[in-house]
Symmetry: C2
Subunit: 218 residues, 2 copies
DNA sequence: CATTTTCTGTGATAATTGCAACAAAAGAGA
DNA sequence: TCTCTTTTGTTGCAATTATCACAGAAAATG
């Protein structure tokens, strides 16, 4: 499920034909550029081809809250997001990236010239959505933990389990970004990391972590 | 998108045939019964037919955190959820309900006897997933608000906008459940509601709410 | 390579939030 | 109808968390 793209099991020749059939367009964005704002009701399903971007929303006071990171083969767009009134949503490119836009109507209505790969593409879209659902459910699961320590440990244990063979693991985001992901103050999170280290529950150095007394390695 | 079910645009006769084709089974559950625990890697896509259920997870200390409510036509199952180790996941029926189980493999692999409605069903599944993504994104959006007041207002304004024609709106859940949804202490939430009323920002009585000084009605 | 920017790390203090406990009201069930 | 349970509403107090402020390390940029 991780190596899945919307074109999985679709040959290169078919892909080319599908571009017309689905009304697809590609567009490149420079680092720092705004890929999309979620206010235009322009309904298209967007797929990240290369690069990455971050969706965040800004409230009246200028507070910025991190919503999600978009990586290659992820889907995004208003179809998957109900924006809250009064908030501004910005999807900003974290690095140079290329995005595929698929016309929403071409997806929901059956292809007139019964394109044989239509159903394969929808199938892929469904599975990519399922993957996205997994990561959102995971984050909700973490965000609903009662305090910073539990949020941290929930995330760290999840990350550790992704690479079960090595004692150490290194986060693929900065501690600043981790605080955003956990939706807590960075300084408070640092304090909690310090406490966990003092209590000999974890060892850490920068983005590198290790669980000390882990019953997992028996 | 709200009236959508996995059988949308599929005739009753076709449905019957699809039961075999997709390896579907139906099962009834009494109120209070456990529909599913998310530890068995039994991969099937589940659809709520009638009734409702709540997915929550319990940690080692017995703390219970609310994950999501499942209503008719919603999809659920481990395909959409990465469980965290050490936590127990229980989907409990809130009322008598009936659930449809669809074999996962029948969904991801193309139907051998090229069933004409296969793609229609996947299409519906994709759209139902998109709807689920909307509601999860919404919740994350709310959970990442900085304090109780902002969480409350974000949710209340979202609810108000669902019925834009009436001044008042009534929550379809108890205030106790709302506190769970916002992942805050109920007493603290009540304190904040009281403050919002004293500051003449909202009026409320039980589950009935109204925004007082709303620039929305000009 | 020099400079700017971002990231990591820390502490004091204030603000927010959770907890425990209680009572009245409302609702469910027998 | 009466009882039992859940919900709403309210406190004081303790615990947690955010805010602010600062400094050195690391990384990015030209």
């Amino acid at each position: 499920m991780n190596g899945l793209s919307i074109f999985s099991s679709i040959s290169a020749e078919s892909r080319a034909r599908m571009y017309d059939c689905f009304g697809m367009t590609r567009k490149k964005f420079k680092k720092g550029q705004t890929v999309l704002t979620y206010c235009n009701s322009f309904k298209s399903v967007c797929v990240m081809i290369t690069g990455s971007a971050t969706l965040s929303c800004i409230d009246e006071d200028g507070n910025n809250s991190f919503l999600e990171k978009i990586y290659p083969n992820d889907v995004f767009g208003e179809l998957f997001c109900l924006p809250l009134a009064k908030l501004e949503y910005v999807l900003c490119a974290d690095e140079d990236c290329e995005v595929l836009f698929i016309d929403y109507n071409h997806i929901i209505t059956p292809c007139s010239n019964t394109c044989e790969h239509h159903s394969r593409l929808i199938n892929n879209l469904f599975l990519i959505s399922a993957r996205k659902l997994q990561s959102l459910t995971l984050r909700i699961n973490i965000l609903t933990q009662k305090n910073i320590r539990k949020k941290l440990l929930a995330y760290l244990e999840f990350r550790r389990n992704l690479s079960p063979d090595s004692r150490d693991f290194t986060l693929d985001m900065s501690l600043t970004d981790l605080a955003d992901y956990l939706s807590v103050d960075r300084a408070s999170m640092m304090r909690e990391i310090k406490a966990l280290k003092e209590e000999q529950i974890i060892w850490s150095e920068g983005r590198k972590f290790r669980f000390i007394n882990n019953d997992f390695y028996i």
